[in-house]
Symmetry: C2
Subunit: 302 residues, 2 copies
């Protein structure tokens, strides 16, 4: 299996990027990812002002996918996320949802044993996930630092981006130009203090291409649902975008009148918070596969 090392990284997603490696559809490959601090934080006594802030959120890549072209959808199946045996979390005054209540910085380095991170004796089951994953954005959309989520993916910080899930991205450049990093061993929906359990990882992926179909926002397919992952300047804006695309998929996939699709969504589509702390906020709208299969959803795209 091809291994793509974690030493070649990007800090922003742009339409034109030089790829560092190439993979083919249906080939399994492994990507080594760095934690969001590029492993600078190893010690709870680390002085945070000494951090090199130019090295935050490195994403390994870009990876060129053979045969993938602008106007296609890139499908990325996550087979496995293997994390190291310790992760880092931290808080700063002013950061996160309750930044106004935080009076001091604090760093915690948590050991991971038998699938559990230990925090002051409390055992946290780990569910590794990818924080940053994306492709080359649309040229008109400009440049996106890896810290920010948008239509190309990026820092979506979505707990469902985990082993067993499949992502779908709109492709705007030959080869799609996939890059990823910033895995978390654990994170609650919201990521309220602005860090998860930050950790380097080895991610096993497989890509495929859906020709001549496009989507506005990335999708993530889980065991039970297909979710639109949308971002906005606040949570309300992200909710509007995720809802709008979710209703559109129900309308087109089921051949419903728009009003019926809107009511159906109100009955079956869960809005879920991904993260509320990155420069933009992210929400996902989950369409149950029992109501509309992922295949029929993709087929129905107009």
């Amino acid at each position: 299996m091809k291994i793509i090392k974690g030493d070649k990284v990007i800090y922003k997603f742009v339409n034109e990027m030089k790829h560092i490696d190439r993979v083919s559809p249906k080939e399994k490959f492994l990507v080594e990812t760095n934690d969001c601090f590029f492993q600078q934080v190893q010690d709870e006594n680390m002085v945070l002002s000494e951090l090199d802030y130019d090295c935050l959120n490195p994403a390994t890549g870009p990876i060129f996918v053979e045969g993938c072209q602008a106007g296609d959808i890139l499908k990325v199946k996550i087979h496995d996320i293997e994390v190291e045996d310790k992760g880092v979390t931290m808080t700063f005054p002013g950061e996160g949802v309750l930044g106004d209540q935080a009076t001091k910085s604090k760093v915690r380095v948590l050991p991971i044993e038998d699938g559990q991170a230990i925090f002051n004796g409390i055992k946290i089951p780990i569910v590794p996930m990818i924080g940053v994953i994306g492709v080359a954005p649309n040229k008109e959309d400009g440049e996106w630092p890896t810290a920010t989520p948008w239509k190309h993916g990026g820092n979506m910080d979505t707990t469902d981006i985990k082993a067993g899930s499949t992502l779908y991205f709109p492709v705007h450049q030959d080869g799609a130009l996939l890059a990823l990093g910033d895995c978390h061993a654990a994170m609650g929906d919201g990521e309220i203090c602005f860090t998860g359990l930050e950790i380097p990882a080895k991610v096993t992926l497989e890509v495929d291409i859906i020709k001549n179909k496009t989507i506005k926002w990335p999708l993530v397919e889980t065991k039970d649902a297909t979710m639109v992952i949308a971002s906005g300047d606040d949570v309300d804006q992200a909710i509007y975008e995720a809802s709008s695309q979710g209703v559109k998929h129900l309308k087109d996939g089921l051949n419903f009148e728009w009003e019926d699709a809107y009511m159906l969504a109100s009955l079956v589509m869960d809005l879920k918070i991904s993260q509320v702390v990155d420069p933009k906020m992210t929400v996902r709208a989950a369409i149950p596969k029992d109501i509309l299969s992922t295949e029929d959803l993709i087929m129905g795209i107009k």
Copy 2:
């Protein structure tokens, strides 16, 4: 078992209300609830301008709980929610998350067969829930129409308020003065078009009292988590309130430093959207019982 009929209802929660019946702790009782339109909508051709808008969101009650006093917590176990064999959903231009995209009103009356509502041939599994449930609010908090969620409960429209769950309310009046209505046979988190599958129901409850403990916002206990249910003028404000109380419960229940509780919450506490369409927005913060049991959370309240 005592049956409390659905003909005596309130349309606002206030601190002083005349109770219509009395129940005792650990007594099971059944409450008949009306749908949010007081059953005015029976027909898909109903002219919505003919609706009596003074009869929306009736809540059966208030019910006096023997031995319950201001400064206690009222515990309400939901044993069962039995719904009728059809439910109503509708959309209006301007209403809900995508109100700007809705071009006409539409009413759907959906039959329910074998635990599934049928919508244009699509089968929706029903999971009945209570939309409006609450107690007398704090006198200083004023009057709350049943359509609005707040610290006393009210129109929280939270899918986890279902059979098997237990609610906890802060008590501000002798007897607590419980009232409920507005059940839904099905609803997605968010309730984006502003209706669920609205339906009359028979709700079997059991109450209990936790003496001399108080909470700022209601809690709902499910199989796996204890959730703070908080509301605000927008989703961001609701997120702040739910997060703030969630971190406080982790801090007090686990005897953690505040910063550690904040980081732990970021790793394990899910923010979940309840509804984003009522006059205020509602979010819940879910603390896993594996991390802190409901009993220890309640014991830890300071």
